[in-house]
């Protein structure tokens, strides 16, 4: 099953492309702290490349791929035993398309509807701050949601890498500095636009003319927009329906898993060991929330190894990466298919990302007591 690893990596790359675009966009906004003119001057460098043919194509395909794979991930789930991070990512991710669609359509069609309307920051800021503040509010929310979704994704991917020790001190502050500076730039340039509107009558008249033309086209655009949102809602509903079917199908097949320390967990047929742990509040480390990346959830299978699903390539790679011994499995990948599974958690529940970055340190510490407890 090379497929899972491929899908995971494609989703990651598409997310990184989107994140790069959003960062450029927000960095451009942050320049508004200097002046409106500087913002538009830097637009050529920071935003324009994304509006060229290749850039647009890349962006559009990345967005489509990320959306589809996100919904696929929902549909491919077997339970709702989500970690707090996953809940946040799922909710934020699902909220993005309907909120962003108005902005995307407006930017894509503005020039076609009103040839005089240049999609530069001065004119758009004027619309946001003076003529249609409702869009400004929408954009504020979108900035929060998109950035949080991206930041959480980027952080949970990077924090597991050994390189995080060197770049973490730089990336983490940036993850917060970028949106804060962008919003400060947004506020500052907005003030500048309001002053300009009050003082520059010709500019104001030009913008008023453009706004009038665009608002005429709004009706058609609105219809298109609502159709798109309905289509999206239908896709989300289908994904969740598939999830619901998966959950309900195996509802009547309860199985048990035994842990070290005499704990037991019950769950449905086909859930992973980690999902058993989460559904039953068994303390179990899982830094990457069950994506098979970190290896912190690994367990030694003491009995019933035949009742677990066979390890896929993704799991074998991670196990090799963390130098797992024989008879060890990733609890997030090993699905329980029968009774009699007994496992020993190898890492303490408080294992953090350092256990994924430097597995040897944690293995050396944890191996000794595990050996002793073996009967």
């Amino acid at each position: 099953m090379r497929g899972d690893a491929l899908i995971r990596n494609v989703r990651l790359v598409s997310g990184l492309v989107l994140m790069a675009f959003v960062t450029c966009h927000l960095a451009n906004l942050a320049i508004g702290l200097r002046s409106l003119a500087a913002m538009d001057a830097w637009r050529a460098t920071l935003t324009m490349p994304w509006t060229t043919g290749a850039g647009q194509w890349l962006l559009a395909s990345a967005a489509a791929i990320h959306l589809v794979l996100g919904l696929y991930a929902v549909a491919a789930r077997r339970s709702l035993a989500l970690s707090a991070t996953d809940v946040a990512q799922l909710t934020l991710g699902l909220a993005i398309p309907p909120m962003l669609i108005a902005h995307v359509i407006a930017m894509a069609t503005a020039n076609a509807v009103s040839p005089g309307f240049a999609a530069n920051y001065g004119q758009i800021q004027a619309v946001y701050w003076s003529f249609a503040p409702v869009y400004a509010f929408l954009q504020l929310f979108v900035v929060v949601i998109v950035w949080m979704h991206g930041a959480i994704g980027l952080y949970s991917w990077l924090v597991l890498k050994p390189i995080w020790r060197r770049i973490g001190g730089l990336v983490l502050p940036l993850l917060f500095a970028v949106p804060i500076l962008a919003l400060l730039g947004f506020a500052q340039s907005g003030q500048e636009v309001l002053d300009k509107l009050a003082n520059d009558a010709a500019w104001k008249a030009m913008i008023l003319e453009n706004v009038g033309r665009i608002s005429k086209a709004t009706r058609e655009l609105g219809e298109f927009q609502s159709r798109a949102i309905w289509a999206y809602a239908a896709a989300v509903a289908v994904a969740f329906a598939i999830l619901a079917v998966r959950i309900l199908r195996h509802r009547a097949k309860p199985l048990q898993v035994a842990y070290d320390g005499g704990m037991r967990a019950s769950g449905r047929y086909g859930l992973s060991i980690l999902e058993f742990s989460r559904l039953n509040d068994v303390p179990h480390a899982h830094v990457c929330s069950g994506r098979g990346r970190c290896g912190t959830c690994r367990v030694r299978v003491d009995a019933g190894a035949a009742q677990l699903s066979a390890p896929a390539d993704l799991e074998r790679d991670t196990l090799a990466l963390v130098r797992a011994g024989t008879g060890e499995r990733l609890a997030c990948q090993a699905r329980v298919l029968g009774e009699g599974v007994q496992v020993t958690r190898l890492l303490p529940a408080f294992a953090d990302a350092s256990a994924a970055r430097a597995p040897q340190e944690w293995v050396a510490e944890q191996a000794a007591p595990a050996e002793e407890s073996r009967p």
């Binding site: 917060f176 804060i180 303390p283």
Partner: protein, 621 residues
């Protein structure tokens, strides 16, 4: 207060309540209109450059708060996970873990709030928005802290960390309902002032909002009372089935009554609601305190249901603390000027305050007394009653001292309590003390012997001169087993039966024959003809046999030995000696004599009979 004034007071109260209800009705009637206006005004304010600016700053504030809290959690998350994975082995340990939970999670929330409020000062907010932002941040703070408190106390997902006796099935629901009620109450507390201070000044709307929020909260809590406390005492222990337990009054009823009472007080007279709420919370805590305290000491409870005194102390102290906190909170809620109250000239207030002081003192004394008594009683019950046939061990000293300590504590606590109570009531006790001093002096002269006895007794006991069960000899031919030790005298049971009561003062030098070991010696007169070396060896051999004997052997510290001691005319006197534990020497000596007699008989030697035999020798030729 006579009947008439009571009647007029009630009439006034009813009239005020009627006015208030009418005002609430008016508020409800005007609220929709005001709400429409307020929404319009808010919309107008938001849909402008000002509104966008305010919202932008708010989002920045959110990012900064989250950034600070994220930074905190990069350090605190692993400890939190470790804490959550720690199984608590007893409720007391769960309490300690819970406190750490509270601190760890509360710190993050506090950091968020501090960062957000601190940074908000740097922005150029549109008019009136800054206050709104701070109110919203505090609202968030209250909700998050409440959630932390609820989730730590009820611990819905981790039964082993739960701090209150709640069944697992109900814990999640209880946490949810409590949190919902807290949200409603917080809305009722925080939102109306914002509405009132807004551009429209919507007083009626604010009042209606408050009414709606508080009514919903009261309804929720009312239903929750019956849902969660309907069947009392099920958690108290598996062994107590319905048939063996006396039925208890269901907790749900008084709790629901409290909810209704507070709601009614708020509805009819908004002023007293806060005080009524604190009073209700206090009463509710008092009602539930017993179960909670016993929950913490359930591991120490005997199978018989005997719980020891420690939970009793904890219960009474906890009750007292709850009442005190309740009174304090009610005073704060009523805006009572506490300082002025203390200075107040009204005699009733002063007497009340003083009685409160006396109650505090009495409770403290009671607590100390229960603590001392329970400790002493537990130790006493653990020490077996002294057996005079056993060698006295270290515990017999405790057996002597502990009752004495208990009595002394009781007397001194009582005296202290009476004196301090008098003092707290404002009665001048200096003359009393001086008088007591004078009388004490006079009595002291009169009761010199008594004082000497008591003090001498203290030293006897402190020096461990004797313990209950030991055989002592005092001055003046007093001797016997120590049977009882009192404050003034010691009771000695003479080996012939009479009981001596010896005051310590008259005990003089004490000879304690029950300590460590004794040496016993006895004489063995034998005819002059016997070979002294043979006898010595024979006695030594008997000594070795006795040492090997399973009955007598353990009673001998040093074996029996004998040697020629004196030669009298016709008699050789051998002296035998051995060492044994105290009061065992008689048994050992009897056994030794028996064996010696048998051995002598076997070897044909007779004891010296005391008769002198004159042997007439023929005169030499």
């Amino acid at each position: 207060m006579n009947e008439h004034s009571i009647a007029s007071w009630s009439l006034d109260l009813l009239a005020a309540a009627k006015l208030r209800l009418e005002a609430l009705g008016l508020d409800l009637a005007y609220a929709p209109e005001e709400a429409r206006k307020a929404v319009e005004a808010t919309h107008a304010a938001l849909m402008s450059g000002m509104g966008v600016r305010g919202a932008t700053y708010l989002v920045i504030l959110l990012f900064i708060g989250v950034a600070v809290e994220w930074l905190y959690w990069t350090y605190a998350y692993s400890p939190l996970r470790a804490l959550q994975a720690t199984p608590a082995h007893s409720p007391l340990e769960a309490l300690r873990l819970g406190l750490r939970h509270l601190v760890l999670r509360g710190s993050g929330v506090l950091l968020f709030t501090a960062a957000a409020i601190g940074v908000s000062a740097a922005f150029n907010w549109p008019p009136r928005v800054h206050g709104l932002v701070i109110a919203a941040t505090l609202f968030l703070l209250v909700l998050r802290l409440s959630w932390i408190a609820v989730s730590v106390v009820i611990s819905p997902r981790r039964p082993r960390l739960r701090l209150v006796p709640v069944e697992a099935a109900k814990a999640r629901w209880l946490a949810g309902v409590l949190m919902a009620a807290i949200v409603l109450l917080a809305i009722g507390r925080f939102v109306p002032p914002i509405v009132e201070d807004g551009a429209v000044q919507a007083r009626h709307l604010a009042s209606a909002l408050r009414l709606a929020a508080y009514s919903a909260a009261a309804l929720l809590l009312f239903v929750a009372c019956f849902a969660f406390f309907g069947k009392p005492g099920r958690h108290a222990g598996g062994a107590n089935t319905a048939s063996t337990r006396a039925p208890l009054f269901p907790l749900s009823f008084p709790l629901a009554l409290l909810v209704v009472a507070v709601y009614a007080v708020w509805l009819l007279n908004a002023g007293g609601a806060a005080a009524a709420a604190t009073a209700a919370v206090t009463i509710a805590l008092l009602l539930g305190l017993r179960d909670v305290v016993h929950f913490y000491w359930r591991s120490e409870a005997d199978p018989n249901g005997e719980r020891g005194a420690l939970p009793a102390i904890a219960l009474s102290l906890a009750r007292f603390v709850v009442v005190l906190l309740g009174v304090g909170a009610a005073a704060l809620a009523l805006d009572t000027p506490l300082a002025a109250l203390v200075e107040s000239a009204s005699p009733w207030v002063r007497i009340g305050l003083r009685l409160l002081g006396v109650a505090v003192l009495a409770l403290l004394a009671h607590g100390v007394w229960i603590a001392v008594r329970s400790v002493v009683d537990q130790r006493l019950s653990r020490i077996a009653p002294a057996d005079p046939h056993q060698p006295p061990d270290a515990s017999s000293r405790l057996l002597t001292l502990l009752p004495l300590l208990r009595l002394t504590t009781a007397v001194s606590l009582l005296v202290l309590l009476v004196l301090t109570s008098l003092w707290a009531l404002g009665i001048e006790i200096t003359p009393l003390l001086a008088g007591a001093g004078v009388i004490g002096l006079a009595l002291g002269f009169g009761a010199q012997a008594l004082v000497r006895d008591v003090i001498a007794g203290v030293f006897f006991l402190a020096e461990d001169a004797f313990r209950v069960g030991e055989y002592i000899e005092g001055a003046g031919n007093t001797k016997g087993n120590v049977e009882r030790i009192t404050l003034r005298s010691v009771a000695l049971r003479h080996h012939n039966g009479p009981l001596h009561f010896v005051p310590y003062g008259a005990l003089g030098s004490v000879r304690n024959t029950s300590r460590d070991w004794v040496i016993d010696k006895f004489n063995l007169p034998l005819p002059i003809e016997v070979e002294s070396e043979t006898i010595r060896k024979m006695i030594k051999k008997i000594g070795e046999e006795m040492k090997a004997d399973p009955d007598i052997g353990p009673l001998m510290i040093e074996p029996l030995k004998g040697k020629l001691y004196r030669i009298d005319p016709g008699v050789k006197v051998f002296r035998c000696k051995f060492r044994s534990p105290p009061s065992k020497q008689f048994d050992v000596r009897a056994s030794a004599l028996k064996r010696i007699e048998a051995a002598l008989k076997k070897s044909g030697i007779q004891f010296a009979d005391g008769r002198q035999i004159a042997v007439m020798q023929p005169a030499p030729a």
